[in-house]
Symmetry: C2
Subunit: 600 residues, 2 copies
């Protein structure tokens, strides 16, 4: 009676300890003649003749007996509404010839019911649980437990569980990593403006929910743990942002005595090992690109390399063309002219133009260049320089070379438009992994460009070749940070960390001008024999959504929040009474109008 399914390296007894002999996805011709007990939801029921029973694993057709001896069973099953939960016992039989359903894995058989029990009735549903019925997302989130019954969400959550399990096997069983749980009730970190606060019972004191276990994983290395990983819950309060969740999960990894290449090979092996067969295989090592190349060629630090349309530098050509206001733009320091050429691009009804120019002035405004500025000779020169074909469209931008991101966004938008128009640019099966390396260690602050901030975080080590520059010209220092990009989405990032206390203090105090007091425990720890170490974090929600091909991470999270951070099913967050706030010594600052309203 014990049936099992074989996965890549494990035997599943999905029916162990349960009141069934088989799942609804399990029965085949080989089971014909067996008595089986199935539990599941009524997917469909027709005139008391048959019904389709569903569970997490599939569908089975159940034949309702029509003879007098089974009239009780027939009545019971005919009266149970769709989505009621039933248990049936019966004999597996072959379907009558010609009635097999090849599309259904259990399509060769049906189960002739002997006894049946309605375990729970279902009242009228707010929507039908069929994959093809489109529901409003708010309704789906309010009745999330019904949406979870869809084959898509069942598949996504099960695949997520399996991928994570394979990752654990690779890290823990194969490479000696230790799964360590780090606290989520910690304290505010410098620049932690996006950290949720948790009031404590000590007046005026708050815990903070960390954005990552960064400090703890470094402290574990200092504690000699050697290899750490954690499927870590992290928190970030960003208010309302589409496709961000206030809590999210990262595969958090740190190891000692390792360099950048070591972490990269580790992660390549991890992804290769855990990659689901349905999307595999993937080849390693992944290609690598410097931050500078990525910005120059793709206008972004997370290039989608599944298609071309790379950014070209045409400053020299344009300088030669001698168009007044273009020259003017190009005369500023660090100014360049760049272009992307959209093959047979038909963008925004510009079909009657062979060449289409866009110019971004230093103030960010756009100007369209017309051919009338150019002689025919100049036009050919430009066409040649851009290697343009008939019907191609060129997008061109000139200005500060750091503003390439505008062209990078236009490149992606153009690809979307081209694909919407029917052109196949990006193979949906393609997996373009890419390491982006050699990031700058510091960037000028947006609000005050004469001050520097960490491009990633203050614990990132400088590039070994640039260590001396740290003390002379920190703006020029590259870091040992690395990002992992898949099909244009950042799925992970990490770095080799600073393990020298003096260097860490210099970065915090002299370069970043931060108050290092709040990190005094970490600075002190670095003085007590900290090993060289580095690590990475993979964004699990995004990674799984890319694997299953879902546009939103909400489709790979069991109970996601809405984009305003609300749980629409349980109605969280919610009001609490002043009495409940009392132990935490806080009260709510109601806006004047509401306070007034409460008084009256």
């Amino acid at each position: 009676r014990v049936h099992c399914l074989r996965s890549r390296n494990a035997v599943f007894y999905v029916n162990s300890f349960a009141a069934r002999t088989n799942t609804c996805g399990e029965l085949r011709a080989a089971h014909i003649g067996q008595e089986v007990t199935l539990c599941g939801w009524i997917q469909y029921q027709r005139q008391g003749l048959f019904l389709v029973l569903r569970d997490f694993q599939g569908l089975t057709q159940i034949i309702i007996p029509q003879d007098e001896a089974h009239s009780h069973v027939r009545k019971l099953l005919s009266n149970a509404p769709v989505e009621s939960v039933v248990r049936v016992t019966g004999i597996v039989s072959s379907r009558p010839p010609g009635q097999e359903n090849l599309k259904m894995p259990t399509g060769d058989i049906e189960v002739k019911v002997e006894t049946a029990e309605v375990l729970n009735f279902c009242k009228k549903l707010p929507f039908e649980i069929k994959d093809f019925i489109k529901k409003s997302e708010a309704l789906r989130m309010q009745y999330r437990y019904l949406d979870l019954r869809s084959s898509q969400l069942q598949h996504n959550l099960r695949l997520r569980s399996q991928v994570v399990m394979r990752m654990r096997e690779y890290l823990c069983n194969h490479h000696g990593f230790v799964d360590v749980e780090t606290p989520t009730l910690f304290k505010r970190t410098p620049g932690g403006a996006k950290e949720f606060l948790v009031p404590s019972r000590e007046v005026g004191k708050f815990y903070s929910l960390p954005q990552s276990p960064q400090q703890f994983k470094q402290l574990l290395m200092i504690g000699g743990l050697d290899r750490y990983f954690q499927v870590a819950r992290c928190y970030r309060d960003e208010g309302s942002r589409p496709d961000r969740q206030p809590e999210f999960t990262q595969i958090d990894i740190e190891m000692s005595f390792v360099d950048q290449a070591g972490i990269q090979r580790l992660i390549e092996g991890l992804l290769q090992y855990s990659w689901p067969e349905e999307r595999g295989p993937i080849t390693t090592p992944f290609p690598s690109m410097t931050y500078e190349e990525a910005l120059a060629d793709y206008g972004t630090d997370k290039p989608d390399t599944r298609f071309g349309m790379k950014i070209m530098d045409i400053s020299d050509t344009l300088r030669r063309l001698d168009i007044g206001f273009v020259q003017n733009v190009l005369s500023y320091p660090h100014s360049t002219a760049k272009a992307i050429c959209i093959p047979r691009g038909v963008v925004k009804g510009s079909t009657d133009m062979n060449i289409f120019f866009l110019l971004i002035l230093p103030d960010g405004s756009l100007k369209s260049l017309l051919t009338k500025f150019l002689s025919e000779e100049q036009q050919s020169e430009l066409i040649q320089a851009l290697n343009m074909q008939v019907d191609d469209v060129v997008l061109l931008a000139a200005g500060d070379h750091k503003r390439c991101s505008a062209l990078g966004s236009l490149r992606l938008e153009s690809a979307d438009l081209l694909e919407a128009a029917g052109m196949v640019l990006r193979d949906p099966a393609a997996l373009h992994f890419l390491w982006v390396v050699d990031f700058p260690l510091f960037l000028p602050k947006e609000e005050n460009p004469s001050e520097l901030e960490s491009a990633h975080h203050p614990f990132t080590a400088p590039h070994p070749s640039d260590t001396n520059l740290l003390y002379s010209d920190p703006t020029k220092v590259r870091s040992q940070h690395y990002d992992l990009v898949l099909n244009g989405s950042e799925i992970g990032g990490g770095s080799i960390r600073i393990h020298n206390a003096e260097q860490q203090r210099f970065v915090l105090e002299k370069v970043l001008k931060e108050d290092s007091e709040v990190l005094s425990h970490l600075l002190e720890a670095l003085e007590f024999g900290a090993p060289p170490h580095g690590g990475i974090a993979l964004g699990l929600d995004r990674l799984i959504s890319l694997i299953v091909g879902s546009p939103s991470i909400r489709d790979v999270i069991a109970f996601p929040k809405s984009f305003r951070g609300r749980d629409l099913m349980g109605n969280a967050p919610d009001y609490v009474t002043p009495e409940e706030l009392e132990p935490y010594h806080i009260h709510v600052s109601w806006p004047a109008a509401e306070t007034e309203a409460k008084k009256n």
Copy 2:
């Protein structure tokens, strides 16, 4: 160059991706002649002659060359303070005859250094990292990263990781459970007075950190997930309580179409599969005891069955003895007299007494009975009834039979005293697992015994034999709750849940008189085809501390909080600025004195 260690079912490449060839615990006679590179901490260094290098896996003796060609290496290693991090490369050699160290796994060999590098220096330590040096716990927590280097904490954290990994293999790979992450930002639940609050950006609205994923796991069953597990982070704000942590971890399990026996067999299989070899094997099934038996025989619902000294009911004997004030006590309804007999018990200087009585009066006060009340005949009758031997001590209590817990506590305290005096009562290697079942579903509220509250939680299903009593006499209803006890500690608890919406509503509204509005989403979910389901949660911190034989769960948590809920290393919780509170529309209610002080 790839060395590996074999564990029960996996090959560890502990040196993959790292700048070493071997760990410090790995080298044996078989490696003699090989060139190796080790990384580790200097545990000990003697006169520039040799040093002992330590990493997470062990110790290796390193011989410092004394010839002129290696003077640089000698100088480097002699000057590096203890706990500095070094990398050495050298040749594995056999120790000179007679100098082998049998106590050291690497005691047959030593490594003759060729080249060495100090990767980081260590400043003077606040305490020595040797297991035999006792430190104050506050100091250990402040420098947790140093304490983590101790072999005890290394062992505890690694064993914890391995046990959890084995549990995952059993659940996920062998029995088809799905690892689902549930939210930790949720909302206040009824009676959730111990839930931490998290202010949101919506005025007056708060998230709450749940004490368990109870609601979510039931909703997953309603969502057809069939089998769920999670190593779940949970939160409980209990203020200051010894050996409790504000955040803790439970192995959280739920499955559909299961009964109580199914969950029990699942958990027995889980523990048997994941139990570490060093403490195994364990035999299953575990014995079972009803709540009533447990209270009667052990005076507690989590009996330590490793030793006898069970509670005896001697009401009939005492009634016959006819001692005035005892009779008086026994005349109250529900009054009993109970006793435990401590074999050769020598408690608190009572050596010159053959019998020692303790009586608990209904008001809780103790009274000592002297033999002068009893005739010699009566004394023998009592001695016979209690089956006393010479030197035995009897503790006796009479009063309301529900007050047996006093005798239960005295039984445990007596065992401690006897063991302190050198008697071996509880074999430290013994593992007494016990299911405690048939708990009452409801208990009278302590503050108002005429009202009822759930003995565990309001989702617990009534015992199938007692369902009708729910509507007639709820105080008599037993539940389908089960606790798992190991050596007198509760390590888990769970129940079959109510899956019928009407029954759930009746329990909440009619029996518990709770406002069910806050649970309306769950009540509604039960109406949409909820399958019968049940589950359990194991307290991971306590379980691991019992496995490693540690008295405190702080020894199995990487970064525990102090008993006041503080992180003594990072200084959490901490003050935040009013500006940081602003987005959350709260402010601190400072006590008047402090507000005054701030003004001045």
